[in-house]
Amino acid sequence: MFKFQKEQEIVNIAGVKIGGQPGELPTVLAGTIFYDKHEIVKDAARGLFDRTAAERLINLQETSAEETGNPHIIHIFGTTPESITRYIDFVTEVSEAPFLIDSPEGNVRSRAAEYVSEVGLADKAIYNSINMSINASEIEALALSDIDSSIILGFNATDSSLQGRMKLLENGAGLMENGLLSIADRCGIVNKLIDPSITPMGNGAGVALRMTITAKAKWGHPTGSGIHNAPSAWNWLNQKKEKDPVLYKICDIGSTCLQQAAAGDFILYGPIDYAPYVFPMAAMSDIMISEAVADLDIESASRHPVNLLV
């Protein structure tokens, strides 16, 4: 393991600290709820779901976080303005944790940004994400909102190399007038969380690992990813899944460790249902990393797994 020369920023979002040198803070873990085909969702367009089951899942993540010391974020996925606002209401009713607002559609993300500002929840919200699809109306909606935390996604659809992804953040890579980091500034984003973007394996998934290190070395912002998307989009593994679902889970959950070993500060680990497995896995990596950097003048936080579990 290693230490960055560049000072590493630590952001504080609703009490959850993210960032720092490897081994300094425990990895922050975000499980997704209300995702596509999540069985607790009854009507994805209207945002109707099994409230008891949803609360149980959130409690499951909270309990896991409490036990290992890895802070948690609730990753809310919605596909319509109606559903995402309903999900936000519910999640903030049952948990104090910060939450990610995520949708494949810009107008849904914009509405969510507006909504959390109206109801005074913007300080807990993390926008997911500022990416190369952002247009003028989404920039305006985000700038007008009170949100000051966002994931900034390094997905460059025309150049998936490390350089292509870095340039997209830095100067727009010739595809956008400005880099995504400066767009984030324009939107009032203070807490910038860099996500190098996980493309499928075969299309540069591994580049994200080196970009994690490179982005932290260059900018010092907290960096992490949804690395489980690499195994979950792996057709070979998906074919094996029918015969052996455990094999699939091992790869999906185990990918967490790869991102941590590459200095990741946060991980969007996928289905929140996996919390009881992901948190111990991440805690194990955190302990190993903490021990690896112990003589590099890096002190682990008091609620780091190394100080709680060993």
Partner: protein, 197 residues
């Protein structure tokens, strides 16, 4: 004349191979629908960039395929089906953007303009976005599986080797401390003794 490239399908994906001599391939977008062995290729496609690329590469490397049926439920935000129709109708601009696509990030990285042109010439798109009834889809497959002639050219293998080329030329500068003796240049991915810096 050879009609199917060696090793076809060229790129891997979430699809099932049926009869490579069939004239039709089926894209089920975000829906999972049981495949028909009478189609050349059958599978889902959820993205407006990598998904579209894969379809183009696998279709133009098999001259037997003359029709692409787009069916199933469109993927929200990504608009993979709409983007496939747009690239077929309008092609890509200088930056690789699919002209006329309203998908979130409709850019192409690994497929050239020539390959897109070949896709436009070889293929007729059958737009049935929203259709999920397997019987109706199979009906269409049967109607088109033997229709028309083989495309009168060699199969085209169009896949960029870009990712295998070195992508940086910057000089080294240590920015990660590994130990007293060694330092790492993050962008170059090289670990060196500190004395080299």
């Amino acid at each position: 004349m050879k009609t199917v490239a060696e090793g076809w399908p060229i790129v891997k994906g979430d699809y099932t191979v049926g009869d490579p001599r069939s004239r039709i391939a089926v894209i089920t977008l975000a829906s999972q629908i049981n495949p028909s062995p009478e189609a050349a290729l059958w599978g889902s496609s959820k993205t407006e960039n990598l998904g579209v690329e894969k379809i183009i590469v696998n279709v133009i490397s098999n001259c037997n395929i003359r029709y692409v049926l787009i069916c199933g439920i469109e993927s929200r935000g990504h608009l993979a089906g709409h983007s496939l129709i747009a690239i077929h109708e309008n092609g890509i601009d200088e930056k690789g953007r699919i002209i006329g696509s309203e998908g979130a990030i409709p850019f192409i990285e690994n497929v050239s303009k020539a390959a897109v042109k070949r896709f436009q010439q070889q293929i007729v798109i059958l737009d049935r976005i929203g259709l999920t009834d397997p019987e109706k889809i199979t009906e269409i497959v049967r109607r088109y599986k033997g229709r028309g002639e083989v495309y009168p050219d060699q199969p085209l293998v169009a896949i960029s080797q870009k990712k295998k080329q070195p992508t940086f030329t910057d000089s080294l500068s240590g920015d990660i401390i590994i130990s007293e003796e060694f330092i790492m240049d993050a962008a170059a991915g090289v670990v060196c003794p500190t004395k080299d810096f």
